[in-house]
Amino acid sequence: MIKKPNRLPSTLDGELILKDARRELELSMPSRRLFGKRALTLGGLSLLSGCNLTEQESVNRMLTKISRMNDGVQGWLFDPNKLAPTYPASMITRPFPFNAFYGEDEITEVDGDAYRLELKGLIAIRRTWTLAELRRLPQVEQITRHICVEGWSAIGRWGGVPFAGFLKHIGADLSAKYIAFRCADDYYTSIDMATALHAQTQLTLTYDGEVLPPKYGFPMKLRMPTKLGYKNPKHIVSIEVTNTYPGGYWEDQGYNWFGGA
């Protein structure tokens, strides 16, 4: 959700440049990975108390443990039958914001003709899928709110294949714990099976009635209005059904894994 440091988009949009500059300042760290590990500083409080918890690995471990506990609480809170609100087309946010861990000038271009979706793990029919084959499956649409972990939200219109139907179609083990996604832009994330089977969880192939553009994840993304933005991977190239915790790009750095809304 936060753009890569040390790079700026080429478009001269004043607001965007300011937003980026702010992030550059915030993220001017030698390494984002290191940043993640050292992240949990006690900024203001250490000033007040003179005690610095930055270096205390035990504090980070405790916070990580509570975050995993919160995964459990969210899994328990998750109602498979509760639908996220849907909106009329007039309420779609235009333009819908681009967001990734890199700038808009670095968007991954995937060749649609050469594209093959790979299936791995606990799946009965583990064959690759072409884009044309995916488009031939029954399609649905939703106009829902995308909520970013940063706090902002935007309403968009996504079309594609209901993920639950696809999982059943390929003979996925629906009792498995996790679905892991790998992406053409090296992003990766994973979700729980209950959310995977939710009625609004969608393998998205279109945005606003058009072929999904590269900036929104061509050729295919996963759309879940029940989870925060970073849980919705773009440019998906492989889907794996597994019982081994797969983590995720942001999750491994400290974002909450469940990320439910």
Partner: protein
Amino acid sequence: MKQPCIEETNIHAPARSTTSAIIHPLWLRVTHWTNALAVVLMILSGWRIYNASPIFPFSFPKEWTLGGWLGGALQWHFAAMWLLAVNGAIYLAINLLSGRARRKFFPLRPMEVLHDFVQALKGKLQHASLDHYNAVQKLAYLSVIADLVLIVLSGLAIWKSVQLPLLRDLMGGYDNARIVHFLAMSFLVLFIVVHVAMVALVPRTLLAMLRGR
């Protein structure tokens, strides 16, 4: 108006006098300081979360925030929320069930608030007895309790806007819940500033909150 009021939990007090009586029972002192810690953690990490996508044209200085980056701040926020909510629930339960809330905060009459407020501005408001709240105090404490409830509810609406549709609608939708959460935080910060200033003016109130009398 200023009659001594003895806590029902003060079973060890030999004589029922205001000098030796426990003003703040132990459970109150523990929940007060736990709440203070939770509130500080929540506000400082909350400011860092706010900075990731400000809803007003300003950000909080990074040195004032907790967590180092958005992910760290979120971990603090969603850890300290348990402390705030569980401690707050314990405080409310004991306070309501023991009858202390009713005795301490009521009756609360608008005219008394006005009178005590004017007296306070003139510097004439006396703290003759720490176990009796003046009308301004009653209003301030009741307001901040209600504000903390609003903070928790609006926070839940933001965190679980899909799973808690009733709360979401009550807050006027997801985006509006963020504004409610922010304004409730602002009121809390205002309260803390005034509260700490008043404690600085009457330091023995701090002693009472530490040792009970």
